[in-house]
């Protein structure tokens, strides 16, 4: 590795101070910090679940049945005597995984699509963005249901299907970013150095559009998680023996009259997560001064 040159150091300092400013602004926003804390907590729990879950995932105690919260089962048990806290922890792994992976799929498609359209402009841009406009007008829920029916209900497809419909706004944001960056001198310099468009997009355009990308990603995750919950609730998403928060809510709703806690706790967990993500997204948007990242 070469010794860092002066420009490297200057860039690093420039970069870190920009991000440090944003971090300072974010830290002043109490709701965003709360969101970040809750989210980090849930992610850590989800990662550690197999080791810290109080009971085994499939462990049933049929003779116990549904019991309200107690010292042995903090959030109660379901009708099969399964520990609710354990169920919610394992469900969270899937719900969060869908949220993050499907969002990554959406991110990848959206950034590539938007960057290409914005970089080349003209007819390519018109054609590509026309397609985005068209897709915007379509009923996605219906198409995901359709995809799940046609290709069977499996997790991989769920990730891809949700990701494949959530990339549109990302593409629009990326395109407008690239359009304004494209005019700047450092991009012209890169072109005159003979760099390929792919390299310019990857090395120069994407890093400079990172703010809006981060903000919009944070706001996409909750809508992705909501889609998963909807599908699982209808029985078209995550399938038993696996579980997710949407599925737990569906089961809870069936028996809520007798055992309301079976609906309440998974519901609260989902809502708290969605709240956190939305607050964090709003906070990041203000901190990074990104306009028009929502809607």
């Amino acid at each position: 590795m070469d010794a860092p040159t002066i420009t490297d150091i200057a860039q690093a300092e420039q970069g870190s101070s920009l991000w440090r400013d944003a971090w300072l602004r974010l830290r002043r926003n109490r709701l965003a910090v709360f969101g970040l804390a809750v989210l980090s907590f849930f992610i850590v729990i989800a990662l550690l679940t197999p080791w810290i879950a109080p009971y085994a995932y499939a462990q049933q105690q049929l003779e116990l049945g549904a019991t309200p919260p107690s010292a042995a089962h903090w959030l109660g048990t379901d009708i099969f005597g399964r520990d609710m806290l354990t169920q919610i922890m394992y469900g969270g792994r899937i719900s969060l995984a869908v949220g993050f992976i499907a969002t990554s799929v959406a991110l990848l498609i959206g950034i590539t699509w938007g960057a290409i359209a914005g970089y080349f402009g003209g007819k390519v841009d018109a054609l590509m963005m026309r397609l985005v406009d068209i897709l915007y007008a379509l009923p996605f829920m219906i198409f995901i249901v359709l995809l799940m029916v046609v290709f069977g209900r499996n997790m991989l497809l769920l990730f891809l299907a949700i990701g494949a419909v959530e990339w549109l706004t990302m593409a629009r944001i990326m395109r407008s970013q690239v359009q304004s960056l494209r005019q700047q001198e450092f991009v012209e310099a890169a072109i005159s150095l003979g760099l390929s468009p792919a390299t310019i997009i990857r090395r120069h355009l994407v890093p400079n559009a990172l703010g809006p990308i981060i903000v919009y990603t944070t706001l996409t995750i909750p809508s992705v998680m909501l889609l998963e919950a909807f599908l699982s609730f209808l029985g078209l998403g995550v399938q038993p023996p696996q579980t997710s928060w949407g599925l737990l809510i569906a089961y809870g709703a069936e028996t809520m009259e007798e055992y309301p806690w079976l609906l309440l706790y998974p519901g609260l967990t989902l809502v708290l997560t969605l709240f956190s993500l939305n607050f964090l997204g709003d906070g990041l948007r203000d901190a990074l001064d990104v306009r028009g990242a929502k809607d």
């Binding site: 290709f151 209808l234 078209l236 949407g246 569906a250 519901g267 939305n278």
Partner: protein
């Protein structure tokens, strides 16, 4: 204005064709025909059924025949319910879904609009924070949770309202409409607040105030028209969301609407029903997007002249 409408209408036709084509071939790709699971169908019966559903023809001929039927408004027979056509199923389910969607939109516009306008009049005060925090709750509590909770509280504990059904008992339409409308009320509150805030700082509002108009007249007569453009533009997408959202709400409240039929068709692998309903809903949504765009353009003079000039 007419140019704008014509332009958007022409644009809708290829979109619709793409939707129909993609859906048609996607459904045909599905593994297992509708009769393959059934035990030992007599060959003659199978042949007759295949002929009835045109499965004996090559794919492209099926597609052309489907388009020809579609042009006459015929969506074909249902795979699952022999003797019933997809048209009949849609005709039975759609009015219910439309009524539910209409009430939900009414809830969303009235509650969301008022909350947003009220909040915008005194930004960064309690009058702003309280409705907007409630709106955030509305966005974060999805209908799949809101519905059961409303049922539990108002239907089971308080026993004020029926817990399910549609048109069987007085008041059984209230909870579904609120459940479906709440998310959109929240979005509309945010949109109308932002729209009103922007408009109320404009020069013509200052002029209206300088003329000595009372504040409520400034808001109602001058502010609303510009401030609500984002809300009107949102109505098209909101309608699409209401339709897909009604899948969940109809399931929760056991409402015999199109959404419930669609989900059942998905479970039953009733391919023609899924195909027909998708085509129907996509058409409807495209039409609604068109209407909401036209309305928004009509409300916004700048957009009007942009298309009038071309």
């Amino acid at each position: 204005m007419w140019r704008f409408i014509g332009f958007r209408l022409l644009q809708s036709i290829p979109v619709l064709l793409v939707v129909i084509t993609v859906t048609f071939f996607l459904v045909r790709l599905a593994p297992g025909g509708p009769f393959s699971s059934e035990k030992a169908v007599i060959p003659e019966v199978k042949a007759a059924l295949e002929e009835q559903y045109r499965l004996n023809l090559p794919m492209y001929e099926q597609y052309i025949a489907y388009l020809a039927d579609l042009a006459e408004g015929d969506l074909g027979p249902s795979f699952k319910y022999p003797g019933r056509s997809v048209n009949e199923l849609i005709a039975a389910g759609f009015p219910v879904t439309a009524e539910l969607g209409f009430y939900a939109l009414l809830v969303a516009i009235s509650i969301g609009g008022i909350a947003g306008i009220v909040a915008s009049l005194r930004p960064n005060s309690a009058q702003d924070y309280i409705p907007m925090s409630v709106a955030m709750i509305g966005i974060c509590v999805p209908s799949l949770l809101m519905g059961p909770i409303l049922i539990l509280v108002f239907g089971i504990y308080l026993e004020w309202l029926p817990v399910s059904g549609w048109g069987d008992m007085p008041g059984d339409k209230i909870l579904p409409a609120i459940t479906l409308g709440s998310t959109y009320a929240a979005y509309i509150a945010r949109l109308s607040r932002a729209g009103m805030l922007e408009v109320m700082s404009q020069d013509y509002i200052r002029t209206a105030r300088a003329k000595g108009l009372p504040e409520w007249q400034v808001v109602v007569r001058h502010g609303l028209r510009g401030g609500l453009i984002p809300v009107v533009a949102f109505l098209g997408p909101a309608f699409a969301g209401l339709l897909s959202g009604s899948f969940v709400v109809e399931t929760i409240f056991q409402i015999p609407g199109l959404g419930r039929f669609y989900v059942q068709a998905a479970f039953n692998r009733d391919y023609t029903m899924i195909l027909g309903a998708t085509v129907f809903l996509a058409t409807l949504i495209i039409v609604f997007n068109l209407l909401s765009d036209i309305l928004a353009a009509w409300m916004n003079p700048r957009l009007r002249s942009q298309y009038g000039g071309r």
